[in-house]
């Protein structure tokens, strides 16, 4: 396999190689973006966080009738931070409310990924108007520094973690950006 890759490196133009590397990087990015640890909060207009892949039934929504509302922080009913404390925690107690040093909330609705295909999320992430206003360099930086993203990879207490690390995700975003943010169907 490595010989084949080497042979391709020698015979394919640099642009095509970057495109392939970008597409591979995207596949790894989508493996993170589609992981329940991420999609449980990257939900749509319903504002209902999910509890997928936590050992409950398939397609579970957050227990206790939790709705984060239009505010995305639960301001209309019960703020997320009532249970998800805004302070770094060990998160070592199963089934307790995870906490990080940031106000727990849902991402903006335009970043809804739950149930979406690789192409759909790809189209969302490469456009600043659909990715919360980030250019690619800012997006990689966000991934490296966000307490939320970091939590997704280290959720603690036996919880399923998103695949890889924050650094690997940031590097994949940079590879994908260098390749021109390719999406399937371009």
């Amino acid at each position: 396999m490595r010989r084949l890759a080497l042979a391709l490196t020698l015979i394919l133009p640099a642009g095509v190689q970057a495109q392939d590397a970008g597409s591979s990087a995207w596949d790894r990015i989508y493996a993170v973006a589609s992981h329940p640890r991420c999609t449980n909060c990257h939900v749509g207009e319903s504002g209902r966080p999910a509890w997928d892949d936590l050992g409950y039934a398939k397609d579970s929504v957050h227990g206790m009738n939790i709705v984060a509302g239009e505010s995305r922080i639960g301001a209309e009913s019960i703020p997320c931070r009532v249970c998800h404390i805004s302070a770094e925690g060990a998160n070592n107690v199963p089934h307790a409310a995870p906490q990080i040093d940031e106000a727990w909330r849902l991402p903006p609705v335009e970043l809804a990924w739950r149930g979406k295909s690789s192409v759909e999320v790809c189209q969302q992430l490469r456009h600043p108007e659909a990715n919360d206003g980030f250019d690619m360099a800012e997006l990689a930086e966000h991934v490296r520094t966000s307490a939320f993203v970091n939590y997704g990879f280290k959720p603690g207490a036996g919880r399923n973690a998103a695949p890889g690390t924050t650094e690997e995700l940031a590097e994949d975003l940079e590879i994908w950006a260098a390749a021109g943010t390719p999406c399937v169907g371009d």
């Binding site: 009738n65 709705v67 009913s77 404390i85 302070a87």
Partner: protein, 152 residues
């Protein structure tokens, strides 16, 4: 560390990661706040920090960054909070174990949303469990309290 609870300053000698719930109950003897589950699944331990509801079983003592209020500090028998008045009016409590958490959650909720509809009340209060099933009375009392607070 120093904690302000119900308007009084306390010096407590505890580990930073001790849940506020246990500081209140075991160190300060303030037992109106109840232990139910210890993992933010039941709401019995709800208190306020600077007026905002928080599950005290989840909040480490070292992370408390404001004045703590338990139901003893919300109102007194001679000057009840509107939510406490409404609770009596509607005879909400049965066994009563969850009720201090329910009232603290309701009071904080009405601070955020003064004119809630039934759906918002249900969403706000669904994290507070009541084994006696007093939910219809809880909802009715919150509506009464909202009306009282609007007129205040």
């Amino acid at each position: 560390m120093k904690l302000n609870v119900n308007g009084k300053s306390h010096e407590v000698d505890v580990e930073d990661d001790m849940p506020l719930l246990w500081v209140l109950r075991d160190e300060l003897g303030i037992t109106d706040v109840k232990y139910g589950c210890g993992i933010a699944q039941c709401g019995a331990c709800t208190v306020h920090v600077d007026g905002v509801a928080v599950r005290s079983c989840q909040l480490a003592a070292g992370d408390v960054d404001g004045n703590v209020t338990t139901i003893e500090g919300l109102g007194s028998p001679s000057a009840l909070h509107a939510v406490q008045e409404a609770w009596i009016e509607h005879q909400v409590a049965q066994c009563g174990y969850c009720q201090s958490g329910q009232i603290m959650q309701a009071a904080s909720f009405l601070d955020l949303n003064g004119e809630p509809n039934d759906e918002q009340i249900d969403q706000a209060m669904s994290g507070n469990l009541c084994r006696c099933g007093t939910y219809p009375r809880i909802r009715a009392a919150i509506k009464t309290a909202a009306t009282k607070l609007q007129g205040a």
